[in-house]
Amino acid sequence: MMAVVGRALVATSRSDDEVRKELSILPSGYTMQMLVPSGPGFMVKVEEQGHLTLVSDRTQKPDLSITFKHLSFAFLVFSFQESTARSFANDRMVLDGEVSHAIRLVRCLNKMEAIILPRFVARLAVKRYPRISLGEKVSKAARVYGLVAKHLVLGR
């Protein structure tokens, strides 16, 4: 599940200007990881103009790491039963790195969830559902799902 979220985040960085703007502040080559200890996770790298790419070799220490204390806590967040902010507030994650960058990553995750999930599900996953028209949501979601499917099928 976390690998799919990582791919969806990468795809969102190629589909949404707001997410790209958030990420373009970070230095090129900056790496961010979300993981469960001894379990699943994903690492992404910031490229030029706020585009993300997946990092397959996760042995290097990332610039920013968010570690869920247990697999079930990651499941709560990525099955959209608990917002990322609520998960932070419930002490379910440990942050290692610059806090302001983590806040940006959370905003990107929120926007991704608002785009790819039906509104009634996304409302559970974010503090406030953003202003986004149905047309924008459908076109961006289609692009994100398309890019994720392509990655899963073709591996690129």
Partner: protein, 395 residues
């Protein structure tokens, strides 16, 4: 609604009272210490506050080994290294911090070095790096606001790289916080007002933001009541030792509350304003508290409304319909700010500070939106909304 999950941790012994300092020698003895080092700054020492602490060791078998009073307003790696050197050079076996935030953070950093060895404090920066107990450590706050005596965090500046290094570990928490009315009795009125508003903000945000939990609520609620009942008493009679002690306890209780349930948007904006305009932290809290409560009211108005009871008392609470209590609580805080303005000219608006320009508003909003505490705010904020709050706080 029941809280589905929370954590609460508060291992700091609180020693509070008019003769609390005199309990320190016994506390040191119980941990086998006989050569404590006092860490403080020149302002605290110049105000004669160290005399009260040193006097507590008269006629005991413990001597203060050395007083290190070279702590600047912002703690730095260099200061921590110097303090560790002094500690080692004098064969000390415990640290007593006497002062405010910078002194306490310096002491926490010093304790890492003298306990773990070496001079590289940077190696311990980050969350949960420390793995064992440090040397015995005591904190005597000289203001009633920061609550640092109960928190597991320290921030030390790396002046070479111009960055602030955070340290977070349960082992940084002191063995005891000593609250003695003598230590705040001579605090100037404007500092008393600012630091009390800092403590009030800690309590209010701890109670109303996302990570609030039943135990932190209990501390926050009582802290709000103590501040509401005693702040103006102290402003009118600064030598009222009982009221001073109540404020000191309120600050510590608010510290326990927010170290377990964090803070929200008032702090995000306050941190940003402090960084851009170099205003004292407590003043920044006072400037934004009512505006942020108003902004969040649609989301958490029920909890803000509950605070009307400790703020204004039972009569007003009982005669106010439930749906109007949040607005009344916010109005009460505005009135408190008016009283403080009349008493010591504590600014109520950004304009009144005389140190903020309209042109800086967007810069403050940009910094605030990336502040770590914003994630705990119940309302999701965007840049335009932060600009709007800042404009409301302008005049």
């Amino acid at each position: 609604m029941a809280k589905p999950y929370y954590e609460f941790f508060s291992p700091v012994k609180v020693i509070a009272g008019h003769k609390a300092l005199e309990h320190i020698p016994f506390e040191l003895k119980t941990l086998g210490c006989s050569r404590p080092m006092i860490v403080t700054d020149k302002g605290v020492r110049g105000a004669g506050l160290i005399d009260h602490v040193a006097g507590a060791f008269d006629s005991t078998s413990i001597d203060v080994a050395i007083i290190f009073d070279d702590v600047p307003p912002d703690s730095s790696l260099e200061t921590v290294r110097k303090a560790a050197e002094v500690y080692r050079g004098n064969n000390c076996d415990a640290i007593i911090a006497v002062g405010g935030g910078s002194v306490i953070d310096t002491s926490k950093g010093t304790n890492i070095l003298v306990s773990e060895g070496g001079d590289d404090l940077k190696a311990y920066s980050g969350a949960h790096i420390l793995k064992r107990r440090l040397k015995p450590f005591y904190v005597i706050p000289t203001t009633s606001g920061t609550g640092s005596e109960t928190t597991l965090v320290a921030v030390v500046s790396d002046l070479e790289k111009n960055v602030k290094l955070p340290f977070m570990s349960q082992f940084l928490m002191p063995d005891a916080a000593i609250l003695d009315s003598r230590m705040t009795l001579t605090l100037p009125s404007h500092i008393t007002a600012m630091t009390a508003m800092d403590a009030l903000t800690h309590a209010v945000e701890a109670y109303t933001c996302l990570a609030a939990n039943p135990l932190s609520d209990a501390y926050a609620y009582s802290a709000v009541k103590k501040i509401s009942e005693n702040l103006m008493t102290v402003m009118e009679d600064p030598k009222d030792a009982d009221a001073r002690l109540e404020l000191a306890q309120a600050s510590t209780m608010a510290g326990i509350a927010f170290s377990n349930s964090m803070v929200g948007l008032v702090h995000s904006l306050g941190h940003a304003l402090g960084a851009v305009c170099h205003l004292p932290h407590g003043l920044c809290m006072s400037l934004f508290l009512p505006y942020v409560l108003e902004y969040n009211r649609d989301i958490n108005g029920d909890k803000v409304g509950e605070l009307l009871l400790p703020l204004a008392g039972s009569e007003l609470y009982a005669t106010t319909p439930k749906e109007q209590r949040a607005a009344k609580a916010i109005a009460f805080i505005r009135e408190l700010r008016d009283k403080l303005y009349n008493s010591c000219q504590l600014p109520r608006t950004l304009k009144e500070t005389g140190k903020v320009s309209v042109g800086q508003i967007e810069q403050v909003a940009q910094l605030a939106i990336d502040d770590g505490s914003i994630i705990y705010n119940p309302n999701e904020s965007d840049f335009d909304e932060l600009v709007d709050i800042l404009k409301r706080a302008w005049e």
